[in-house]
């Protein structure tokens, strides 16, 4: 739970920015960024875990710098698990935000300009509130999906009880343990409930907000 929550907190602000850029920019870099953002959807999660190891591992170029300068260690820690989960769920969040942003009329930003609002002012008073339904829906889906992240997490931070053992990792461990069937069934039920609940809540919120804005 804590891993999924942290991953959501980390990915949402970045996703807002990326989604905004993807929806509004017309530069050539857009296509490339779009593809990079969606990579976790198509690559095997193990590959993402491996890439994270290479970048953030103790000998990785960013990992060693982080450890050397700030004493931050990501590998084999809860924060690392959150990072792996955030990377994996990032495309889902970006997608949800971008869809709500593309549905919002850019004419409203023009209207705000003629009323004297500068770029940051416009972003916080018009653009951000308009994409809020997408942000919330994206965050909830990311949370639910984050609970289930397996491949990238186990590759990057391993399966340490009490530190990096997330729900699917615990489930996997229970299945490997003789007599762990009941435990596995319970964990599967929790996973199922959280997933379904997350999807339903996100849809409900999105609907309610759409209605509040008359769309």
């Amino acid at each position: 739970m804590s891993v999924a929550l942290r991953s959501v907190l980390a990915s949402v602000p970045c996703a807002i920015f990326v989604a905004w850029w993807l929806a509004r920019s017309r530069s050539h870099g857009r296509l490339l960024l779009d593809a990079v953002v969606h990579l976790p959807l198509v690559l095997p999660p193990v590959v993402i875990g491996y890439l994270l190891l290479v970048i953030f591992g103790m000998r990785g170029w960013l990992g060693s710098w982080l450890y050397g300068t700030f004493g931050i260690q990501l590998i084999f820690t809860r924060a690392g698990a959150a990072l792996a989960t955030a990377v994996m769920t990032f495309p889902l969040v970006v997608r949800a935000i971008r869809i709500s942003l593309e549905g919002a009329d850019p004419g409203l930003e023009e209207a705000a300009r003629t009323l004297g609002a500068g770029p940051w002012d416009r972003f916080f008073t018009i653009t951000l509130p308009l994409m809020l339904p997408g942000v919330l829906a994206g965050a909830i889906i990311a949370f639910a999906a984050g609970l289930g992240e397996f491949g990238a997490v186990i590759t990057f931070v391993s399966n340490i009880p009490g530190e990096t053992r997330t729900l699917p990792l615990a489930l996997y461990t229970a299945l490997q343990t003789p007599g762990g069937d009941a435990m596995a069934a319970r964990l599967a039920a929790i996973s199922f409930t959280l997933g379904l609940g997350g999807l339903l809540v996100s849809e409900l919120i999105a609907r309610r907000m759409r209605r509040a804005m008359g769309r």
Binding site: A111, P129, M213
Partner: protein, 365 residues
């Protein structure tokens, strides 16, 4: 003084205009869709970049490409009312109204919230969200929002085009109030001549990105370029006169036009008020002798000042009725049979019911 000049090229279109008019007052940009009206006001607002432009409002230069000056839209303080109102859906009416006001410089707040709410009749709507408003209400809120941003200039881009006839009649009086209450320069984009007739003090005819004619509405109503835009059927002289007498019983008002008087169906007519009427050329009958025994109430006597053949079958005749010009459209056959020619004395007959008129509460600018 309001100066708007711009050159903008697109694939198959070139906008090339220069307009200079006195302020305040309503300048109407009139033309068919695609003539460049919206392009021009987007350049004026700064939302669109032109190859060359000079935008100046009462001595303040907002854009001058020859000097490299180009203020961002948010720095221009130009109020813009869009055709589709563009109210912010996540704010109620009150917050929408105050959005621009809060961003206007504190020392420049001449237009007060309470006054705008009262003049535009928005008091009952303040807590509502835009989606709970009718089309006409939305445009009134958009007008109020633009006004409260304390603009130097107000741009109205076909603010009535998305409304049905009833809603249009609901909003039009508010536009008149606005023109009369605030001494603001206003640019009004329209392709409806009756709106221009009611509101404009200066008319600019645009066609294919060029200014075909500009001036007072009386002169523009006689201009040949207007015929190609509105079609010959809708052509008619606009006359401005004062009300000599009004009869509340019959609803008829006698309007002094040129050397004569015509009777017009007018609501709220008050003697002495200025009125603008349009007499459609196709509704005018010409007679070479003083007519007798007719039901027609309006008989003016004048002199033919010009004859133009607008197509194969009909002639457009300008008749000078003592300082004012009335346009008449007659068939070529009738024109030949009466042997109409320039300088000839002629009687002009118009049915009172066929005249479109509108009374002005304040003197015309």
């Amino acid at each position: 003084m309001l100066k708007l000049a711009a050159i903008k090229r697109r694939d198959h279109f070139e906008l090339h205009v220069a307009i200079e008019v006195a302020t305040p007052g309503i300048v109407a940009l009139f033309g068919r869709s695609g003539c460049g009206k919206s392009t021009l006001i987007n350049i004026v607002a700064g939302l669109l970049k032109a190859e060359r432009a000079l935008i100046e409002v009462d001595g303040v230069v907002l854009e001058d490409s020859s000097k490299g000056i180009r203020l961002a839209p948010e720095q221009r303080r130009i109020g813009y009312v869009f055709q589709d109102s563009r109210l912010f859906p996540h704010m109620n009416v009150d917050k929408n109204l105050r959005y621009g006001e809060r961003r206007a410089p504190a020392g420049e707040r001449r237009i007060g919230v309470d006054k705008v709410i009262e003049l535009l009749g928005l008091g009952a709507l303040l807590q509502r969200r835009p989606h709970a408003l009718s089309g006409g209400e939305r445009q009134r809120v958009a007008l109020g929002r633009a006004l409260l941003s304390q603009p130097r200039l107000l741009l109205l881009d076909e603010p009535l085009a998305s409304l049905d006839a009833a809603r249009r009649d609901e909003v039009l009086p508010y536009l008149e109030t606005l023109r009369d209450e605030f001494a603001l320069p206003i640019v009004y984009v329209s392709h409806q001549f009756d709106e221009v007739l009611r509101l404009a003090s200066h008319v600019v005819l645009l066609d294919q990105g060029r200014v075909m004619a500009q001036g007072g509405i009386e002169a523009i109503s006689l201009h040949p370029a207007l015929r190609t835009i509105v079609g010959v059927d809708a052509v008619g002289a606009v006359l401005t006169g004062s009300i000599a007498a009004a009869d509340p019983q019959t609803g008829l008002a006698a309007v002094r036009v040129g050397a004569g008087v015509i009777n017009v169906n007018l609501r709220n007519a008050r003697p002495g008020a200025t009125v603008r009427v349009q007499v459609l050329a196709r509704d005018v009958i010409l007679a070479t002798r003083a007519p007798e025994g007719l039901s027609v109430r309006n008989v003016l006597v004048g002199e033919i000042s010009r004859i133009a053949s607008d197509d194969a079958e009909t002639d457009l005749i300008d008749v000078d009725v003592g300082g004012a010009i009335v346009l008449a459209r007659v068939t070529r056959a009738a024109s030949v049979a009466l042997s109409l020619r320039q300088g000839m004395k002629i009687w002009v007959l118009v049915k009172a019911v066929s005249i479109r008129g509108h009374a002005f509460l304040s003197p015309l600018i």
